[in-house]
Symmetry: C2
Subunit: 326 residues, 2 copies
């Protein structure tokens, strides 16, 4: 099969590409061709079979999606998007990339005709939800975003469901939890500290905690996120029915739970590297975010979450620190 990853240079895209190159197959189907696309050059995965090719393409360009679909990939992972902060700061760019780019991709598939019906796995976000929210969000709760990014994701979900219902493709949208521990340098996204307070102390560096320890949030490790994408790639979508957007299972945990896990892996020395510096703006932003979900539906469909922060920290040490801790 031919697999296309749009957004292959991103954190999840890169890990997905590495995993596909390593496995060489999805659910027993050999990957004969792996095409990696992003606006910056995607890294070629280590140990790939020689069949991977990469393209550097601005997804927002009018004819980019059409060019990508021309040779009819069987499986399309669409992970490309402008992030939340940028979509809020640049209204036109957010809609151009996150909505128009995605819609043109869907249209390019439709216009191939009825002989072509690929699987499309789209990464959506819990940003489709906006306050007020119940303490545990059920699957049938309204998607009423409070950002342009969340609006664009919610619209793409609706399009994906309609294009799937009409059999133009077979799509599934995964609403990913906040990814933790994000590898790489600390970032200044409002959610960044959730990763920073683990990743930095584990590497012997200081990190800032801007909220209180009782703040609860919804997490998945990068490893779990890649697992969701792979499962979605081969899942029987007849079982999913017409509601094609799924809240992925996650770990509902507090900052205190994170710190307890850090203590088990890094000791008191690591915990002491967390500097408490209250930030009322971040406290306020976080207060409108989802804290917990009822994900019975996704679990019944076979999606598997991390079960503890120990598991999340262990995955980080194995995948990002060569299994050695510091």
């Amino acid at each position: 099969m031919h697999v296309l990853i749009i957004g292959a240079a991103g954190m999840i895209g890169r890990k997905l590409a590495e995993r596909l190159a390593k496995d060489g197959a999805i659910a027993g189907n050999e990957i004969a061709k792996l095409t990696l696309v992003d606006i910056v050059p995607p890294a070629m995965p280590q140990g790939h079979s020689g069949l991977a090719t990469s393209f550097t393409v601005d997804f927002a360009l009018m004819d980019a999606p059409q060019a990508l679909i021309g040779d009819r990939p069987d499986l399309i992972f669409h992970l490309a998007s402008i992030v939340s902060g940028e979509a809020e700061a640049d209204f036109e760019k957010g809609y151009l990339v996150n909505l128009d780019g995605t819609r043109r991709l869907f249209e390019a598939i439709r216009l191939q005709g009825t002989s072509y019906r690929p699987r499309v796995v789209f990464t959506s976000s819990i940003a489709v939800y906006g306050a007020p929210l119940p303490s545990e969000i059920p699957d049938d709760y309204i998607t009423q975003p409070l950002t342009s990014y969340g609006t664009q994701k919610a619209i793409c979900e609706l399009l994906l469901a309609d294009y799937s219902r009409r059999a133009f493709f077979d799509g599934i949208a995964l609403r990913l939890p906040t990814i933790c521990i994000r590898p790489g340098a600390p970032n200044r996204a409002a959610s960044g500290f959730f990763s920073n307070i683990l990743r930095e102390p584990l590497a012997g560096k200081e990190a800032v905690l801007p909220v209180s320890e009782d703040v609860r949030h919804w997490f998945a490790s990068p490893r779990a996120a890649v697992g969701f994408l792979l499962h979605a790639a081969s899942l029987d979508l007849e079982r999913v029915g017409p509601r094609r957007s799924l809240n992925m299972p996650g770990l509902s945990a507090t900052v205190a739970d994170e710190i307890a896990a850090l203590r088990r892996f890094g000791g008191e020395a690591a915990v002491r590297l967390i500097r408490r510096e209250s930030d009322p703006i971040i406290e306020r932003i976080i207060s409108g975010w989802p804290r917990d979900f009822n994900v019975r539906r996704a679990q019944e469909l076979g999606f598997v979450a991390d079960t503890s922060f120990d598991e999340i920290v262990r995955a980080h040490i194995e995948d990002e620190m060569d299994g050695t801790g510091e």
Copy 2:
């Protein structure tokens, strides 16, 4: 104030234009100019003040919305859309008119700049909901449509909320119940019989009832619908908050309720004009439709529904039959 009605030749648009021309004002604000637009020539309302003008414009044309917004109407009623059946039969036309047309209208407003922030009243539909549905749909139930029409309406609702949040305009979307009694000739929409079995017998004509009498549905009279639009035009939207799509209050009633009202106005002779002709296809379509809503929110905001089918039949006799019954 300058009022623009897009979709002024439709059933609701025509009644709204007549009402505005008769009142000459909205919530005490004099209507200095009334612009009526539709793809077929809108009828000039009787007794208008001389300030009404009409345009025949295909809303789906690229620059039509921009032309309509050029002289900055203060209040825009956007009622124009391809109906459900046509949007399902013609995928491209449905998206072109219902989504792209609406988005271009919103964009034309945004591109006027920050000195222009009109009120936009948009008619959405309960077609944004798809089965499975709770017996009484709450305001925070997921909008998961099962038609392209419902998808397009749900997307426009999301856009309207985001454009309003960013203060490009001040928008509100009204999800109208099924309008009953629709004036005019019987149509073959799946919902047509709800009106046919009242309107036709009241006029001494036969009508077909394709479902059983215990079928429950959600209704508003044309008069109530015009009332919703007028109320939305002057409502303080600060009170509505960021969730700008409202389920309008309606009357949850059964076919038996309809027939009982018909009996009170037209006697047994009228009821005998209903011919029972079971149609499994219509039964099946109807079974996926909403039956009842919790509309506390809309009621608290001052929207007022019909309270009985007697009221609905009486409004029809007064507004469509010169108050004379047959």
